[in-house]
């Protein structure tokens, strides 16, 4: 199924011209630690969900990008996922990450093992060293990331996790989203197209919510605060009222 969807998506993006601006959830490699296991299919599945559900183009074969490589600053988005302590970043990695953020890039930090939380804590520690002036803050439930495409009430991933997300906000933009929900875990698929990792505590609905949240994050990366524009306000207020 995955390959079928990929083929469908590929046919829709047959024009390579246009791909340069396509959503590309590049996976961060830091300290030589790579994303492995079933979650490594998460970024491609993320692109596929985006292509299937929205008009946005996306790269179906996202590549890895190292924090200390200049390619990090070739695109404005990357996802940093893991389940253990990332250790101490090298000077080059810290410099690369700093450049990326200061250039306006968006980084999603996805803790694959939020129950343990060592990945999330270690990334926060390293980010504080890179951006000491920008500590993480809790995003308001009215933040645009909850309404960039779907109207979602809370962040959801493979696990339900906390009802809010923390972020490093610079200027008016949340540039680093710190997730404790194992989003890539919810997106990961096997070669046959089935989801690789079951969601907890509930099943289908939670996964659907997780996919929607992933699409919203992608749309946030592509459109920034577009849905905060005044022109959308009355529609969204009406729909939120209907949803409740």
């Amino acid at each position: 199924m995955l390959s079928g969807l990929a083929a469908l998506a590929a046919s829709r993006t047959a024009h390579a011209f246009g791909d340069v601006g396509a959503f590309n959830p590049r996976v961060v490699v830091a300290g030589g630690k790579r994303l492995s296991g079933p979650r490594s299919t998460g970024p491609a599945a993320w692109s596929m969900e985006l292509i299937n559900r929205t008009s946005a183009p996306a790269r179906l074969a996202p590549r890895e990008v190292a924090l200390d490589r200049p390619e990090l600053c070739n695109e404005p988005f990357a996802v940093w996922a893991g389940d253990g302590d990332v250790g101490s970043l090298s000077v080059a990695e810290r410099r690369g990450l700093s450049k990326f953020i200061r250039l306006g890039g968006v980084l999603v930090v996805d803790d694959s093992d939020p129950q343990q939380g060592s990945f999330g804590r270690s990334v926060r520690r390293e980010l504080l060293r890179v951006l000491p002036e920008s500590p993480p803050v809790r995003l308001d439930p009215s933040h645009v990331v909850y309404k960039t495409f779907y109207i979602v009430e809370r962040p959801v991933g493979r696990v339900l996790g906390p009802p809010t997300i923390d972020a490093i906000v610079r200027g008016k933009n949340a540039q680093v989203l710190l997730l404790s929900h194992d989003l890539l875990g919810a997106l990961a698929r096997s070669d046959e197209g089935s989801y690789s990792i079951p969601t907890e505590p509930s099943g289908y609905d939670q996964r659907q919510q997780a996919l929607r949240f992933a699409v919203n994050i992608a749309m946030y990366v592509l459109c920034s605060d577009y849905k905060d524009d005044q022109v959308h306000a009355p529609f969204l207020m009406r729909r939120r009222a209907q949803a409740r």
Binding site: V20, G21, F23, T54, A56, F149, Q208, L211, L222, C223
Partner: protein
Amino acid sequence: MIERGFGVAEGVGSALTWCLCVLLASWLLLLVLEGRARKVSVWITLSGVVTALLVAAAILRPTRVTTRGTDLFPKVVVLLDRSWRLDLKVGEQTREQVALGALHALQKGLKKARLEVLGFGEGAPHPFVEGQAAAVERPTDSDLTAALRALSAAPGERPEALVVVSDGRLTSPGEAATAESLKELGTRLRIPIHTVAVASAALPDASIRKVGTTGAAVAHQKLALELSVGCSGGLSCDELPITVEELLHGEPPALLVQGTAKVRDGFAKLELPFTLDRAGRRLVRVRLDVPEGDKIAENNQRLLTFDVTRERVRLLHVAGRPTYDVRALRMWLKADESIDLIAFFILRTNSDATQVSDDSELALIPFPVDELFTEHLPSFDAVILQDIDAVEYKLERHLPALARYVRAGGGLIMVGGPSAFMGGGYAGSPLGEVLPVTLPDRDSAPPLDMASFEPRVTLAGRAAPALRGVRELLGERLPQMLGSNTLGPLRPGAIALWEHPDRKAGQGPMPMLALGDSGDGRAIALGVDGTHLLQWSELGEQNAGRAYGALWEGLVGWLMRDPRYESARLELTHECRAGAPATLSITRLPGAAVDVKVTLERLGEAAAASPPKPLQLRMEGNVETATLPLGALSEGGYTATVHIGSSPPARFDFACESGGPAFADSRPDPALLERISQQTGGVSVAAADAGSLKAPPPTHVESQRVVAALLPAWLWSMLAASAIGAHWYARRRAGLL
């Protein structure tokens, strides 16, 4: 002139003279009394008188005084009204001709006066030399107060009289001036002001007497035009229709507002609100429909120039799909506080499976295409169409309106992508006509090309102020683009700033970034979808992504006619008056020698089939400002398009009026002239009687004085001594001693 007289020797004081006079008088009195008492001989009395006079002469030593001098005629200043208004007719002649006739009569009649003829209008008066006063130098106003103020402050000899030659329709003092203020005019110089009225009767005329606005002209905001309409000279006026139109380039005038002036007692006042949507210099024509019998056509319309500002640039950004390129542009636009951004992105297509049971789970709103491109379109300063398919998203039916919007002064940027240009169904559409590039038919060429390339900066791109920022940051390097749209050759007058290094459009390289004027508006075609790589690439990262902002600031700035991104600053050397030569001043950025081409077109008319022949000049490397004579222009609005070398053209709109504010009120006001003379002790006459004015009396000035003794002092003494002796002898003989 020589005058002769007598005096006494130098050194003889008045006290001595008086004492001597008293002594002489006493002496003569004694002689007379003696003669009566003693009956002395008349000869003794006579010798006594002679002796007394000779003694007096010996003391006073009389002199002959000859003086040479001149009669200095008084300085009289003639202030001649130089306003255009004096081109109005008085019978068969213009007021100007009548004024010159009066001047000739003054020159003839005031022969015993030194006449200085000055022309007055605005500010200090200037020497008037008949035959050398070109029409272009003539002012609109007749400010007598300013002229007198300047005269009183000027050093040198003060005039003893002033003669004002005018029709009396003065800007200052106005017809409502008080007697005190008129009196004060004369007290500045402490001289009488004589006046010569060159016209007395008003012609039948209906006119726009005054035009004013409340507040500054700001794009998209209502502006109230306050009009005063007058009817004079016995013309019958009742309700006079007024039309206010904007003059556009290559288009018929666009109606802004209409109204009716209800004239009561020869006067009407009305307010007409209207909105100008485009910023920059806008020309507005106000037309008054006059009744039959109106004799002065020049003041039936006014051409007004508004420098329309904008509080914020209002941009509509429409994107066919969200990409990093869309993201970068949106973030840049949002970060600029001077931009009011309205954005619509297509986030879902009909084939997308959103996996919702109900659309209320989506944060999507319908793309209000009809509303945007009909009702709200004029409210935007520019529209950015980014990679949006006109057919799929029902934009197609609004493309004619969008093209009209551009021609009427709107801005357009079409940003590349698979669904832009040919790929979006724009080829052959009305919008394609306003782009700076032609778009080939879909059958004749593929809509896009997948080959990577680095855009090449053209000669014009190197010279364009719009790309100065990028040049300063990156030089001529640009990031690799992953493919390009297919664009055709440039339209006439358009400029390519970037071109494809390999692909051809017609005979030349394919333009990748082109800009050009279309009617009153401007349009930019960008045939790539990767300008965000100026920020998000190794090249972009080297300057912290600032090149991206520099590019879009330049492009949006050029589109909005920001003077910083124009290739030249243009202005007229003086107000343009119909029928008089106009001259354009061109100031360019410092640089190498360039050829300058200027095309002049009338506003408010459909574009000519063949482009007008350009005027040309060459600016050498050390020349930054040059002037170009445009010739004598007829009444109307004009646009001068200036091409400086290979830079994008700069444009300057201006109006040439036949009458303008000078003709606004055609009524002469001899009563005001009479009041001025009355209050300052002068005389007011009609032009026909100008020769009857009298000059003040001349002043005599001595230039030489010669004093010569009538006789030498020793001779006076000898004669006096002899006379004393003879008198003594006579008295002795008569037995009086």
